[in-house]
Each structure stands twice: as structure tokens, then as C-alpha cells.
Symmetry: C2
Subunit: 356 residues, 2 copies
């Protein structure tokens, strides 16, 4: 049976990526060795790292003269601390928007480093909307989360600010065309939209570095990793290889324009069905609904076991909401085919016919 | 042609581990999904993490009541800073032994945290020996590196100290039986002896934690990771799975007693051949030669291209010395079969016959 994988992360990857990754673990380029058992300084992996970095420049349109592209470890959670350590000055302050659990964790870690002003929060309504903000011009940077994986909200337009922008794009990185030059720093755990768990993409403007006047531990210093092209120490070889394959798949199929259109079709298809169907309800403000993580509830929670059984029968996997909020969450990342959304919509319609 | 993989890390893994890992990337447990595209909170991966942690307790003989076992990210280099952050108190000091590049990097990072005393160093002779030390009783801990990957020295017996012991065991972890209870903290990047690049094993004594009186950033706090059983945030799924497979392979074949005997045979076989052969010379003190990384030089560097050609013809890979020291390095980690050492020894003998 074909499985329709709506997991929120680690999440679905393109079939051809998984096939190539599986082969590389067994025998890389027919050399009789696995990719994961050769030196990261050897020609095989150096080429992978080079290509993985290059693809980010190509997809984002950013120039290597102005931006550093790095593959680091520790997830976006490590970046919560590391971004502040590298960009928040001792005398200045940083502005943060609190739009969910991860944004809130980013604030917590930044406060360990320096002064933080929360310029907007949707905590008062369980993060079901995105707050209006007055972005300060004098802040070291404004930090926001482009897509809130747990709650299912997403910025349709990025906030305008006169200070530098820093963004956690973990769950909608490279899901649509965007103006990357607006940002001083973008970070994204790979395991949502651009690869497997185990590496985090960090893109930082060169001119933003070296301004904090702070002693930064080696492994937490962007300048160190950038100067060594993400090879200061042994990188997470497999995770970077699979990310490279995924970005290659994206580029070869048409890049951000192409995926943006498909993701819009998936989004429209799902939410139109949701709004038509009286058995279900969305959980967030319509204007900020996420195209990546669609959160919804049953009108009648008593029918949960019936709906779950129908999902299972249709081969739908990973639809459970985050453990902190419950309900359902359909994650529709880049690699999820439109067909899978159609299957989900069909099940929702059948459910309404049967129990409505 | 069979390849004999002497890479220093990422390094050789058992064939059956690579076969299983390759299959898991394609289709995990015949469920129609890859292991790397399902939630880390789902039953598939939770079981992997549980087993990977359990195997460390079983192989080390340590009790879960007294020790925490964690799989973290960032490599041993991240542990250089993190270990000091968690164990070095504000008022006390830590003692370090400087036996090579990594030990020296550990010292550098610890100095950012607190007071460090270098109680022994072999820097004066290019790290070709292990210094005698007087281990202080009043230090917060004594840090040393059990095996020096670059230089090819290894502690045959661990230093005795009245203070707690902290050890970077990256390149000889689980290569021989040892008394793990002697240590407050052991850390090891997986990619040498116990798995692929992308995760670091950390074993810490529970009673050693919470003593520094320091605010520790969330992702750098052992207590956080321990309390969440290495699932505070998304772990490096693939790297942990392959480490689990490798530790399972080790345990099923006979554990540390078994591998200790095989590694001794490999070590004896190589160094006996080295000492008999006038065309080669070792680079370090005989009494501290490493069983993991055997470093050696040609007596006549002019014959290098001839020796390299013979290595290539025999299918020997990864024998190049670290870029900082040159020469040759035969890494003989757990997964390297005795047969591969015999092939290398044969090539060395043939080389001597031909050019000697």
C-alpha cells in the first residue's frame, strides 16, 4: 500500500532522494565504499559539501560575496542561542516576535546573551494568530519565525523593519520564492523541508558578523565555521549528503517558483476542503494559515476513532497534532505530492458522508 | 576489488551495519517509509534511541542509576566547551593533559569557562609520547584524551587520580575492556569507532552534574538532554540508528572482551611487521603506540610514489597521515578486519623486497 506521509518532521523526502541515499550508504559511486565510511576531507565528500553549499546560493539567489552558507549541528534549538551570541551586541538589544513554542524558546536563549524586547506576541490566544508589530529601527535585529510548525500559522508576507532581519525558517525553508537579501541571518533545521534530521542550514550576511565584541566559543562562532566552509570539525556527512540531494531535486524540477506553485495548490486544495466540510474546523486565523502545517480539529471529538481508522485504511501517516496541542496536523512539505493531499481530502469527505 | 579501509574517521563500519542502514533508508521494517522520514517521537525511532542508549549501559557495565547516556550533536569539539561548562566550577579549577591537537583544543575551550591547569604536556616533542603527570587531588576533574588520533599515541593504562576523571575517548571508545566507573564523564564522537559522523556519545555520572552554579544555555546543558533522554529536540536520527547497529554488532559478537582481543592481534601484527621492516619507522614512543591509529614514515621519502602505487593496487584506502603531520597512518578501528592488516603488512614486505 502506498503511504501518504504527513509527518511534521522528520518528514517526507522525495523518492529518488531516498533511493540515491540508500545506494550511497551501501556503495558510493561504485567505489566499493560507503559514503559514510570515508574521510570528510577526501574528494568524495568535499564535492558533496561544495555542491550542498552552492545549491543554497543558486536557490536563494544570494551572492557568495555577501553571504556565508553553513551546515551546522544541533538543530534550530542550538541556533536560538548561537544566533544571539553572534549578532546581539553587549550594548544593544534585539527585538523578538513571540508566535509559538519555538519563537518563545528563541527568546529564552537570547535573554541569556543580552537584552531582548518582545515587540509582539500571540500567546494570549494560544498562538492562533500573528501579532501586528512595530518593528524598531534601533534594534540589533528583529527575530521572527516564518512558519509555526506546532500551531499552524505562517507569515504570508515577511515583516518590514528598518533593523536587520533574523528568521527561523526551519519549517518553510525553500517552500516558496522569497527575497533572501532582506535577511541578515536565516537558519533552518533540515528535517522539515530540505533534508533529514542531523544538520541545520545557516545563512548569514558577512557584514553582520564580528560586531558583538564578545568572546565566542569556537564551536558556536559563525566566523569559525564559515572560514572553514563547514569543515572546522567532522560534519554530519550523511545528513548533508541527503540535504544536497533534496536541494538538487528541488532545483532540477524548477526551483522555488515551481515548488511555490505546487505548495499553493496543496494549500488551496486542503483548506477549501476544510472550509466546505462541516465535520472539521481549522484552529488558526484564516489569513495566516500555514501552507506547510495545516492544523485542524474534529467538530465532534467523539468520532475520533472512526476518523483515525479511515486515515489508516487510506495509508495516511503522521497526521497526529503536536503533543502539546493535540488535534490533527497535515504537514505538506515540499516533497509531499499533491496526490497525497487529494487522498486526505477524499477521506475527509467520505468521513462527512458517513458520519455527517 | 575488495577495499581495505584504513580511514581515520569517518571510518570503516561493519558490512552488515551498512547493509541494514541502507535498507532502513529505503524502507524501514517493511513499513513503506524510510527511517529518516518518520517522526522521532514515533514508535520506530523511540525504540532505536532506547536500544542505542541501553547498549551503552550493557557494553560499559555502567548502571542507569548512576550514569546518564546521551547522544548529542556537534562532535567532540563541542564537548570541549560543553564538558567544562557543565563540570568546571566557578571557584575551582580543572587539570588537563596536553597530548595532541584535540587535547590542546579542549584546553582552549575550557579556559573560556574557568581556571585550567595543564599538568602535563608532550608538545615539546611533537606529541610523540605521553607525559608523566602528577594528578592533583583538589581539581574539579582531570581531563585527558585516551587515544590521540593524529599523532598515534594511546594510554595503555589510564592515569590514576584522586579527582574525578574526564576523558575524550573519541578514537578508541569501546575498543577494549575498561573500567568505566573510574570516570565522571566520557565523550566520544561516533565516527571513529562506534558509528558514522553526526552524533557524539556522552556518558556522565549523575552525581557530577549541577555543581557549577552557572547559568547554562539549554542546548549545552547535560541535565536538559539527560532528562529528555536525548530527545529534547530532534536528534540526528540516522547517525543514532547506525551507531545502534554498530553497538549491536559489537555486543552480539562478544562485546569488549572479544574486540579487545582482535584489536590486540591487529596491533601486534602491524607493529611487529613495522619493527622488522627496515624501510619504515614508527613516529612515537614504542610504549605508547596506539592500537587504533598506527603512524609511520618511510625511511626514504623518495620512494613514496612507489609505495603509494602498491597500496592502491592492493585496494588499501585511507592510509594518508593527518594533513598537519604527513606520513602514513593506519587506522585499525573495531570494524577493520584482521585480514586488512595482513594485506597491509604484505604490501609493506613486498615493498621492502622490491626496493630494500
Amino acid at each position: 500500500m502506498k503511504i501518504h506521509n504527513f509527518s511534521a518532521g522528520p518528514a517526507i523526502l522525495p523518492e529518488e532522494v531516498l533511493r540515491k541515499a540508500s545506494e550511497a550508504v551501501k556503495n558510493y559511486q561504485d567505489k566499493g565504499l560507503s559514503l559514510i565510511e570515508v574521510s570528510h576531507r577526501g574528494p568524495e565528500f568535499v564535492e558533496v559539501m561544495e555542491r550542498a553549499r552552492q545549491l543554497v546560493y543558486e536557490l536563494s539567489g544570494l551572492s557568495p560575496n555577501e553571504y556565508e552558507v553553513m551546515y551546522l549541528q544541533g538543530g534550530a534549538s542550538m541556533q536560538f542561542y548561537m544566533s544571539a551570541l553572534n549578532l546581539l551586541s553587549n550594548k544593544g538589544y534585539a527585538a523578538y516576535v513571540d508566535t509559538g513554542t519555538w519563537a518563545s524558546n528563541a527568546i529564552k536563549e537570547a535573554k541569556r546573551v543580552g537584552r531582548v524586547e518582545v515587540v509582539g506576541s500571540s500567546a494570549d490566544k494560544q498562538y492562533t494568530y500573528l501579532p501586528d508589530i512595530v518593528a524598531p529601527a534601533d534594534a540589533d535585529y528583529l527575530h521572527f519565525t516564518s512558519n509555526n510548525t506546532i500551531y499552524g500559522t505562517q507569515y504570508q508576507e515577511f515583516p518590514e523593519a528598518k533593523c536587520p532581519l533574523v528568521c527561523d525558517m526551519s519549517s518553510d525553508m525553500f517552500s516558496r520564492p522569497f527575497d533572501a537579501e532582506k535577511f541578515d541571518l536565516i537558519y533552518a533545521g533540515a528535517q522539515k523541508n530540505i533534508g533529514p534530521a542531523g544538520t541545520t542550514l545557516v545563512i548569514v550576511k558577512k557584514s553582520a558578523l564580528g560586531k558583538t565584541d564578545r568572546d565566542i566559543p569556537t564551536m558556536l562562532d559563525y566566523k569559525v565555521h564559515a572560514s572553514k566552509e563547514s569543515m572546522f570539525n567532522t560534519p554530519p556527512v550523511f545528513a548533508i549528503y541527503v540535504t544536497m540531494l533534496t536541494l538538487e531535486w528541488l532545483k532540477e524540477n524548477g526551483g522555488l517558483e515551481w515548488i511555490g506553485k505546487i505548495n499553493q495548490l496543496k494549500k488551496d486544495s486542503f483548506y477549501q476542503a476544510l472550509d466546505r466540510n462541516p465535520m472539521f474546523k481549522g484552529t488558526v486565523d484564516i489569513s495566516v494559515r500555514s501552507g506547510m502545517n495545516a492544523t485542524f480539529l474534529l467538530e465532534d471529538e467523539g468520532l475520533k476513532s472512526h476518523f483515525d481508522a479511515m486515515l489508516k485504511e487510506a495509508g495516511i501517516s503522521g497526521l497526529k497534532g503536536h503533543r502539546s496541542v493535540g488535534g490533527y496536523r497535515a504537514s505538506m512539505y515540499n516533497a509531499l505530492p499533491l496526490e497525497s493531499v487529494h487522498v486526505l481530502v477524499d477521506v475527509m469527505n467520505q468521513f462527512a458522508q458517513k458520519f455527517g
